[in-house]
Amino acid sequence: MSITAAKRYRLIRQIEPYLFLAPALVVIGLIFAFPIVRLITLSFQRPFQGQMLFVGLTNYQAIFRDEVFLRAVRNNLTLLISVPIMVFVALILAIFLFDRIRGWQFYRTTLFLPYLLPITVVGLIFSYIFQLSGVLNDFLKVIGLERFILDWLGSTRLALPTLMFVIVWKEVGFGIVLFLARLMSVEEELFDAAKIDGANWWKLQWHITLPQLATTIEFFTIVSIITILSWVFGYVYVMTGGGPGNATMVTELFIYLTGFRYNQMNIASAVSVILLLVTGIFIFLELRLRERSVTLEEVS
């Protein structure tokens, strides 16, 4: 082999991996990179006389003066209360199922079922349940608890907590399955040894179950935070439309309305960039957590 041929061979070997990667990189570029760059560009522009003009931070300043946007952010933050509730409920139910209470297999399927249902179906069903003249209030009337009849979705005070209840009801199933799967992979000897040492039920949970579930709890917490920040559009759109009086407005719905109903794509882009950044932080945390969990498993 001549020197030139050897050089050419080395060059091809160096380029080869990139050629294999190229199709995937092009697809990723088109699907992710281009829209993100376009989104960021749009967020710094505004239309004027048929042209897009660079306006610096004007769109960002406008949204931070917009009461509806600030309300949406406050509502998203309020909805974050549901995260510890989801974690706690999922944890308790997973522990009971792991203890193989009577009928645990039936309960496991039943508790996971809501997670499998489409959000639109869940939203519609709960809309009928929580209307003032809906199933829940009819039931309360039948059992003589009229004083608890409330306008669950029509009251500015109750609409957001009602929405939160539905989100917890649907999303908790994912946590249960995650926790249960992790618990089933814990070596039984750990529990047996603790029992021989005289540990009661509480001590078993405190000293074995919780430490073993720690990384799974962290993972579920971060995934739930991401869900609440950027994945609740379906619930809100179907159940309340953001009302009454913006009481359940969230950033995703705000983006949709601003972009597609008010035709203000640039302001919608600015809000999307903010949402992307905030969600990105949590996605980064989740990835770091996954790395740590893999390292821990390798060490153990």
Partner: protein, 290 residues
């Protein structure tokens, strides 16, 4: 407005002397409430009905759709009494218990369904729905009346036409063909076929009324021909409709805001729209000036 004649008679409302002032409407609400019937039903959860209420009630003190464009571009204020009064009038209806209690928790369609189910005596409907309702409850169980008046603007006497308009863009390469197609859709044959297959009155005053056999539809067509007026939602920015009319009516029925606060909310929203949309504002100014 569409009403249920059986429920009206039961409540002692004279079918030959239907309410045509605001006070008479409130008196009719009292009579219907007395027999345990919801006077008017609607649904605000999905917002749209709030826009309708604005278009139907908000017009009564003003003379033209241009008045609303004028306030949108900042040459008048939505807090001016002529623009703001409809909030007070809607509030009066709420206080008089004219509406279904669950108005905020049901959507537009469910509100309308309460009328069809015989649970309410009146609705702010439109003629496009009449045939569908008649198929369920029969034409005899429906009557139509003009919206009772509180204002004295020229628009107070107009009948809101909800027809959707088709336009030809200035950049179209086939303007003539598009115009020819629209003309074709308005030939007598097409108008008759439209009515035959949909049961909905065509938006064309040349339509042959001999095709209409229902007195209710004949009456409505007469109103359309004599006093057609614009749907005001088409003459305001959609942000104003959503953030002031949709949101405001929900807040009013939730008891969260007074009529004066809602008028101020409307003005705040339109100021925000002007600030955020110089381009759209310029379009509105050009449109208003024409």
């Amino acid at each position: 407005m569409v009403y249920n004649p059986t429920l009206f008679e039961k409540a002692g409302i004279d079918l030959n002397d239907l309410p045509d002032t605001w006070d008479e409407l409130i008196a009719a609400c009292d009579k219907l409430n007395a027999i345990g019937v919801t006077p008017i039903s609607g649904g605000l959860k999905d917002g749209w009905f709030g826009g309708w209420l604005f278009s139907i009630l908000g017009r009564q003190n003003l003379d033209s759709e241009k008045d609303f464009m004028k306030a949108s571009i900042g040459e008048a204020k939505f807090t001016d009494p002529a623009y703001a009064e409809w909030w007070e009038r809607l509030h009066q209806l709420k206080e008089a218990k004219c509406w279904n209690a669950d108005i905020n928790s049901v959507d537009y369609q469910q509100g309308q369904d309460q009328f069809v189910q015989g649970k309410s005596a009146m609705i702010f409907g439109n003629d496009t729905f009449l045939k569908g309702w008649a198929e369920i409850i029969g034409w005899d169980n429906m009557g139509v009346m003009r919206v009772p008046k509180y204002g004295s603007g020229k628009l107070a006497d107009t009948y809101v036409v909800t027809a959707q308009g088709l336009g030809i863009t200035s950049w179209s390469q086939h303007k003539q063909e598009a115009a020819d197609f629209l003309m074709f859709m308005h030939t007598p044959d097409r108008l008759n076929a439209w009515f035959k297959y949909t049961g909905v009155l065509p938006a064309d005053d040349r339509f042959d009324t001999a095709q209409i056999d229902q007195p209710i539809l004949k009456q409505i067509f007469e109103w359309v021909v004599q006093s057609a007026g614009p749907n005001l939602e088409n003459f305001i920015p959609s942000m104003l409709d959503e953030q002031a009319n949709f949101t405001g009516t929900q807040l009013l029925f939730a008891g969260e805001k007074t009529p004066a606060e809602l008028a101020q909310l409307t003005e705040d929203v339109i100021q925000k729209w002007r600030e955020q949309n110089p381009d759209q504002l310029q379009n509105f100014v050009n449109w208003y000036s024409k």
